[in-house]
């Protein structure tokens, strides 16, 4: 069948990213050499992105079961039961490389793509979160990337009417050449209305709907195109995909109406690898074959070759399987929403993906070979013998006082207020947002049944770089702590594993240690992993990125009116530290400001007491006992207190004695040597650790009545620190900083968005 004259060579396969051995295996599975279409299809489905060939074995170790799990990994998005017959679907996905090339469109299409994953399972998107990593804002390129990525996220999310309710951004030198743009979406569906992607029903029709197909994102495969287009036409194959949120919005409404009317057998979004991966995956999941006629695909450009149509990454398209009798109705709904709808193929019993161009068969491949036969590779993890990352350039003068240190931390790019960023996002459309950015540690969304869900996204690459296992455990703990602050109990977790080249032993080690930490932390907290994404090969000429697992967690709380807030609210309330908080300075934000190198490991975390504390805080919030709850994260305890002051626009007076006591208590933890070496500094080392040390997910700053804190103290360690009130943050007689001064320092990101 293949046209012998045009057969690509093994070198073409290598240029497409396959190995010679993989090419030989493809020929063996086919029983002949692949033609151009087939090679294009295999090269994509056997890519890291689609086949997870370096991570699949690791991902299998994650806990995925749980009472509330409705859909686990394997579908377009995972989903958990949130009661009253409703399910919440969610997933996080990376768009790192496109965003590094063109941040506005890269970030926008990233949001578009994750939204499609969510409505592909029949859930109406109800929220977006973003997780961003850039180089230091002192770099003009990083500022540009940040500015444009934020604009792109807003452009897409705002325009499709889905609120962006949360997110995070960190700046570290290691992301300078390889920024990370991860987007998470949540959707809401009736449990019984959710749809899967498995193709079924031999004789059923395959309908492509949405935008027309152009040459978007197929630059990499241009080696195959020599026969079709000359060198001079090279720029006809743009690698940058442009998002069209208007088309995305129509596609969303169209898809949900099709499902609502019960017209679809199954539904699948077109993401990376376009028609290729969507059709192959639908066929594979259903154990059937699919015939596709590329001549019936509506095109945006003339003269597209069949392989180009198969691998185009044009945005805003979906594929569905429909019973023949329903096709007209499906096309009518498409017409109503002014999107293209075309019957382009059918479900067969051949277990093969056949590509036709009109009458002509231009590709014919066993589905199993495409989806299941890609060789998996074992990682060869090896712990690095020396430091992988350069020490950051310090910016805080040695000998800085507590006051100077506090203000420097509040103004550090990783801690400063994110207001100028999230103000560019519509956080309120759909009228569910009970806690919005800036009000609490997690976003809270009211649910139709009267309860609410909370969602947060977290991940500290620096801590994972210091210790992949513990750093990842901390990320999960911190995300759960954020939920506890609003009174939510975790239901499920999604994650995006952003790592460098896994073929390098030390990256393999980072990846496997991190996944081990992820699994252990999820088991310890009884939170199932319901989905995720893996993004590998994130490195620049200067070296790998910090290994960055990003975790997104969804939880529930019974009463949205009692959702917690992070700001102090009531004059006279007691401020207290809650939890088995044992902070260290290593790998923390202060260490970075001081220019300290990363440590070789972090102190082990005991998840059990942290879990107990989180449960106690959660229950106290739910009971309406606490006026505020805020987890202690970057910058440690004093920064957390300052943040609660700023969020509540009120001061606090802390007693010096409990802090001093805490500082002494910290000294025996083996830091005497360092303490001595820093003795000439403004802040004695134990005090610095007490005030600014970090231990993610294990400590909270709360405020409430004396009785409320006594009740809390019966369940978990509580240390009273002081009282809410006034317009300064004061510690004993030594420190007094006006709220205005705190606010000014905290507003440091403003100039990044002129």
């Amino acid at each position: 069948m293949p046209d012998a004259a045009a057969l690509p060579t093994v070198d073409d396969a290598v240029a497409l990213g396959l190995t010679r051995a993989e090419y030989a295996l493809i020929a063996e599975k086919l029983g002949r050499e692949p033609n151009e279409v087939e090679l294009a299809v295999f090269s994509l489905l056997w890519s890291e992105h689609c086949s997870y060939k370096h991570s699949r074995a690791l991902l299998r170790t994650l806990p995925t079961e749980g009472e509330r799990v409705v859909m686990g990994p394997g579908e377009n998005a995972g989903a958990v039961d949130v009661g009253d017959g409703w399910a919440v679907a969610f997933k996080v996905e990376s768009h790192n490389h496109p965003s590094a090339v063109e941040p506005f469109q890269g970030a926008a299409t990233g949001v578009g793509g994750i939204l499609r994953d969510v409505f592909a399972i029949g859930a109406r998107p109800i929220a977006v979160l973003d997780s961003l990593r850039f180089g230091e804002p002192t770099s003009a390129r990083s500022r540009f990337l940040l500015d444009r990525a934020v604009a792109g996220i807003g452009h897409y999310g705002n325009s499709v009417g889905v609120p962006t309710v949360g997110g995070e951004v960190f700046f570290e030198g290691s992301y300078e050449q390889n920024c990370l743009v991860n987007a998470m979406a949540l959707g809401l569906a009736r449990r019984e209305d959710m749809v899967r992607s498995a193709a079924a029903g031999v004789g059923n029709v395959v309908v492509l709907f949405g935008a027309s197909t152009g040459r978007d994102g197929i630059g990499g495969a241009s080696v195959l195109a020599s026969a079709e287009l000359g060198e001079a036409d090279e720029d006809k194959r743009p690698t940058v995909q442009v998002g069209d949120p208007f088309a995305g919005k129509k596609l969303l409404e169209c898809s949900l109406e099709l499902l609502d009317r019960g017209l679809l057998v199954s539904l699948q979004d077109l993401g990376a690898a376009g028609l290729t991966s969507s059709s192959a995956e639908m066929a594979s999941k259903g154990g059937v074959g699919v015939d596709l006629d590329v001549a019936r695909v509506p095109l945006r450009e003339e003269g597209m070759a069949p392989f180009e149509i198969m691998i185009s990454e044009s945005q805003e398209r979906m594929l569905c399987v429909v019973e023949p009798a329903r096709v007209d109705e499906v096309l009518a709904v498409c017409a109503k929403w002014e999107v293209h709808g075309s019957a382009i193929g059918s479900v067969t019993d051949t277990a093969r993906l056949r590509v036709l161009d009109g009458e002509r068969v231009v590709g014919d491949m066993p589905v199993v070979a495409l989806v299941d036969d890609c060789p998996l590779y074992e990682l060869r993890p090896q712990r690095p013998s020396g430091p992988l990352y350069r020490a950051p350039a310090g910016s805080l003068a040695a000998g800085a006082s507590v006051r100077e240190t506090l203000l420097a931390l509040l103004g550090s790019p990783n801690i400063a207020s994110r207001l100028p960023l999230y103000e560019q996002y519509d956080w309120l459309v759909q009228s569910r947002t009970v806690r919005r950015p800036g009000q609490a540690d997690a976003a809270v969304l009211a649910m139709p049944g009267g309860g609410a869900i909370a969602v947060a996204i977290d991940g500290s690459g620096r801590r994972v770089a210091a210790d992949p296992y513990t750093g990842t455990v901390e990320a999960v703990l911190e995300c759960a702590a954020n939920l506890a602050c609003v009174g939510a109990q975790p239901l499920g977790l999604t994650n995006c594993l952003n790592f460098a080249n896994p073929e390098k032993p030390h990256v393999a080690w980072q990846l496997s240690e991190s996944v081990r930490g992820l699994g252990d932390a999820c088991r310890a907290l009884a939170v199932p992993v319901v989905g995720g994404n893996v993004s590998l090969y994130n490195e620049g000429a200067e070296g790998p990125i910090y290994p960055t697992p990003v975790v997104g967690m969804v939880g529930e709380l019974p009463d949205p009116a009692r959702a917690g807030r992070s700001g102090f609210a009531r004059e006279g309330d007691v401020v207290a530290l809650v939890g088995p908080f044992a902070p260290v300075l290593e790998a923390g934000e202060l260490a970075k400001l001081r220019g300290d190198a990363l440590p070789v490991a972090l102190p082990e975390v005991d998840v059990r007491p942290a879990r107990t504390t989180q449960a106690a805080v959660r229950d106290a919030v739910r009971a309406g006992d606490l006026c505020s709850a805020h987890d202690i994260a970057e910058g440690g305890r004093l920064v957390a207190v300052a943040e609660s002051c700023l969020a509540g626009a009120t001061g606090a007076r802390l007693a010096a004695r409990p802090l001093a006591a805490l500082a002494t208590a910290l000294t025996p933890r083996g830091r005497a040597g360092r303490a001595a070496s820093r003795a000439q500094d403004g802040v004695p080392e134990p005090l610095a650790a007490a005030l600014f040390g970090e231990a993610p997910g294990t400590g909270f700053v709360v405020s409430g009545s004396q009785e409320a804190l006594d009740r809390l103290g019966a369940r978990t360690p509580v240390v009273e620190l002081g009282t809410v009130g006034g317009d300064v943050l004061a510690v004993g007689d030594d420190l007094s900083v006006a709220l205005g001064e705190l606010a000014e320092a905290h507003a440091a990101l403003g100039p990044l968005f002129p």
């Binding site: 090339v101 063109e102 469109q105 935008a211 152009g214 040459r215 978007d216 720029d235 006809k236 194959r237 743009p238 940058v240 995909q241 442009v242 069209d244 208007f246 088309a247 945006r300 450009e301 044009s314 945005q315 002014e338």
Partner: protein, 89 residues
Amino acid sequence: MRARVLIRPKEGILDPQGVAVERALPALGFSGVANVHVGRLVELDVEDVSQLEAMCEKLLANPLIEDYSIERPDAAPQPQDAGPEAPRR
């Protein structure tokens, strides 16, 4: 020297605005319209015209997804052109 830069979506790059306008026109009773593309127009006074190209590459256009062309209306006025503009501001 007054100059203008016309910035258009690159060929092959999706132009959602063009599509939207093309769809809207027939509904308004205008027929026979095709290949609509929407781009940007930047008009400016430059002392050194030779800098324009670099300005386009660096700031005015996004070379990844946009093509641009530079025109100097004063140099070759268009018959239908409204003529040189009065200085503004």
